[in-house]
Symmetry: C2
């Protein structure tokens, strides 16, 4: 257990906040609700971006960039959409500062008031669909498969680093299609991309499903999502993919001439994941010793720490380290040799353990005489003495093993934390224990609202693979034909 | 010459604007002064980002992310800095919209007025140095070598796509050092990185120099820059690297305990390039037939266009195309096989020529019978019939040749457009012809101001390699010991 570091069981929320700061991932900034993403945290985000971006491109998408500002009038055009975002947006009203007459500083210049207010984008459907109107004339112009990596702003009242911040980084895909079927297919395809990323890179098992009407994106006909379970038993929505129907095409008058020579409204999807994934990653694997990173997203996969006395020993250790670094890099493994004199080995052990580096190799001069090194795993905190001969191949396999182990551990935890609940009495007891509750629901927003009001639990999703099964709603007792997932959530 | 396309000599400015739109690079958005960067344009920017990012990392820098918003009070802390940016900034004053009482739409909610206005970052020195205060305690914490890729906003009155837009994309490096010498070394190192990028990737020769005091960045002690010459004879500042001294450390009280155990202010640099480079790239090489891209930044380096009649011919051509694509991809060359039926070969020729694809291969069924293909170069518009045998190796060499050729052509143009001018009379004549004028200057801001006022020419830079040479200021006749570069500029 790291020194002076609160444990998960003592205070999960404090554990998270401290971990984020002490592992050098991020910190709160002087600007309300906005965080600074520090280099180590940003390096993880870059690995996420790279993996996702490659998958987007493999599935035919291209990146583009649309303006940060959205005129207020655009924002108003889709009724549900504006309803969803108007209450939490940053509004630009002036374009110049001037000196105050009393000399105490600056103020917005009244002569530079904007005729129309600009909204800092909370999401870009409106400005993008206004743009697509110019791009789409005929079926030949479709599909349009665009993505953008950008910052967005939602003026959240309660913020937490990565999980909910006023400004956050994300990607938003916005696609335009000829037919409803094609748009739905795209929506589902991107859900699969997100699920693959979550499981293979983040080592985080997810449930694929769709949202109940209450939880849909503002302006969507259907919202698909991946839901994950955090270690404290709360669920976290990790990515969403929306089927927008023709809502935005109608709001922005985007029509195309079909193959049948008819003017029709275009079908739309949008989908996104954000720096929130960083929070999900942290809460999926980390422990009371600090961060635990899956190898596929670790900026440093292997750290090498030397132990030697005197110049002669140092020369031997340095030489072995150099060789090992070369071999690992050749295999595409990212490695750091920390031979700083200003810090002692014990300090370094703690440092890299806290930062979640998957594998630590200790190169000790005395061990090396016997051809041995110490190999330590971050995931299960085990150590072993092992021959330096063939080490790089062993490390390569071990990284894969750690990746799989983290996933399996998280999956086991989720399975143990998921249970069928069939009565309201049981629900009230079980929801207090956390985890995912698989329950029958009568399908009405009223019941969902009431359950939320009474227990703070929401329907996380209706799983895509939900079995047809006759049952009765846990709350109303009305008929239901499949189970949905209830949980308290981030 | 492309159809309906204005030539450079007819109207250079219109040629540029049309080119940007017709080559699918960008378009003006509905938001004043903000552009939409379209997928093809963004793909070029991504290649620029990748090359620069790799060089930043090789020189020890790490990426991070700092907030979009800067509290007004931070902005005010460095006097010259605020003076430079206060007149052109977007100001956020509210965080919520509400329905108007007359039901005609939305308005900022008076109850959601911010206590302190937030400025959308025009550059991030202030928020970053406020953050660095928490990161820096001792010399052990130095240097800090951070970069961020971000959007920034400067409320420009006259905007042009890529060259000057209200919102633009850029990278901004912000480094902190123990000593003045180290900070100056960093400033110069990053100038070298920019110059290398401009010349090797953009095929754009640049002059490395530093700015006269009038042209320095607001808050810098020294601004280094790379300056390029555009085809219309105007200069363009393509990148800047600033030595900030201790100005921001003092404004934000950032001190460190030195090796000698003294509290000292930290030394700073900042450096940036932006989507403006896209404008520079376009204006360096493109011609009356559209865009011309250097192979090192072309999203599509080779396009293959089939010509065939009937299924049998089509099958043969497809097979050869597939083989060629595979060979080129193996060599790391990006290739597109455009076998769409909906467009004719002639249309495709024009399309890819206009989009600046460096090499076009035409695979004609009849040519193939003789083992031949047609190879066309975009840079000099030549075509040749060549054996398909060994084609991928030939293309690989040709791409390198085109890259060098574009650079040499631009260099020759710049050399021919650069001349020594030694009298005010000559200056008045020569400045009208465009190009770079190498002149003696007395070193005073007054003379510089006066020359600008009379001719619109500014000192682009004092070249780093300027020879010591006695002379007289072209304007004042006062003594001068080296020549500086004057030009009209973007």
């Amino acid at each position: 257990m790291a020194k002076d570091f609160v444990t998960r069981s003592q205070n999960y929320s404090e554990w998270y906040n401290e971990l984020v700061v002490r592992a050098d991932l991020a910190e709160n900034s002087a600007v309300r609700g906005c965080m600074v993403i520090k280099p180590y945290g940003y390096a993880i985000w870059e690995k996420m971006q790279k993996a996702l971006d490659e998958m987007f491109k493999e599935t035919g998408h291209q990146n583009a960039y649309f303006p940060l500002f959205i005129p207020k009038s655009y924002f108003e055009k889709e009724a549900e959409h504006v309803e969803g975002f108007a209450k939490e947006c940053a509004i630009v009203t002036y374009h110049r500062l001037r000196a105050k007459s009393d000399g105490t500083g600056l103020e917005p210049d009244p002569d530079a008031k904007l005729e129309e207010e600009l909204i800092v984008r909370p999401t870009s459907e409106t400005i993008i669909w206004d743009t697509y109107r110019g791009w789409i004339k005929s079926y030949r112009d479709l599909p349009i498969l665009c993505n953008q990596w950008a910052n967005v702003v939602r003026w959240e009242m309660r913020t937490r680093m990565f999980l909910r911040t006023t400004e956050f980084l994300w990607q938003e895909g916005h696609t335009a299609h000829e037919t409803k079927e094609e748009a739905i297919e795209e929506t589902k395809k991107m859900l699969e991309v997100y699920a693959y990323f979550a499981e293979k890179f983040m080592a985080m098992p997810v449930i694929k499903g769709y949202k109940s009407p209450n939880e849909r994106f503002a302006g969507a006909l259907d919202t698909y999502c991946i839901e994950a379970l955090m270690q404290d038993g709360k669920a976290l929505q990790a990515g969403t993919s929306h089927f927008l129907g023709q809502n935005f095409a109608k709001a922005f008058d985007v029509k195309f001439l079909s193959k049948e020579n008819k003017l029709e409204y275009v079908w739309a999807t949008s989908w996104g994941v954000s720096t929130r994934l960083m929070g999900a990653l942290i809460m999926s694997h980390s422990d009371d010793n600090g961060l635990v990173l899956p190898p596929n997203l670790a900026p440093i996969q292997v750290v090498i720490i030397p132990i030697s006395k005197g110049d002669e020993q140092k020369a031997i250790v340095d030489k072995e380290a150099e060789k090992l670094c070369f071999e690992l890099k050749t295999k595409g493994i990212s490695v750091k040799y920390d031979n700083r004199d200003s810090y002692k080995p014990g300090w370094k052990f703690n440092e890299y353990e806290f930062k979640g580096v998957p594998i630590r190799v200790t190169l000790g001069a005395r061990d090396l005489e016997q051809g041995l090194v110490e190999l330590a795993r971050r995931d299960n905190l085990t150590k072993e003495s092992t021959p330096i001969e063939g080490l790089s191949s062993k490390i390569e396999k071990l990284l894969e093993e750690i990746q799989v182990n983290l996933y399996n551990k998280a999956l086991l935890f989720r399975e143990e934390s998921t249970r069928n609940v069939d009565s309201w009495e049981d629900f009230l007891i079980e929801i207090e224990k956390g985890g995912l509750l698989s329950c029958h629901w009568d399908g009405t927003p009223e019941t969902e609202e009431k359950i939320k009001e009474l227990t703070k639990a929401t329907i996380r999703c209706i799983p895509l693979n939900a079995k047809q099964e006759e049952g009765k709603c846990i709350f109303s007792g009305e008929a239901s034909n499949k189970r949905v997932i209830f949980a308290r959530a981030y």
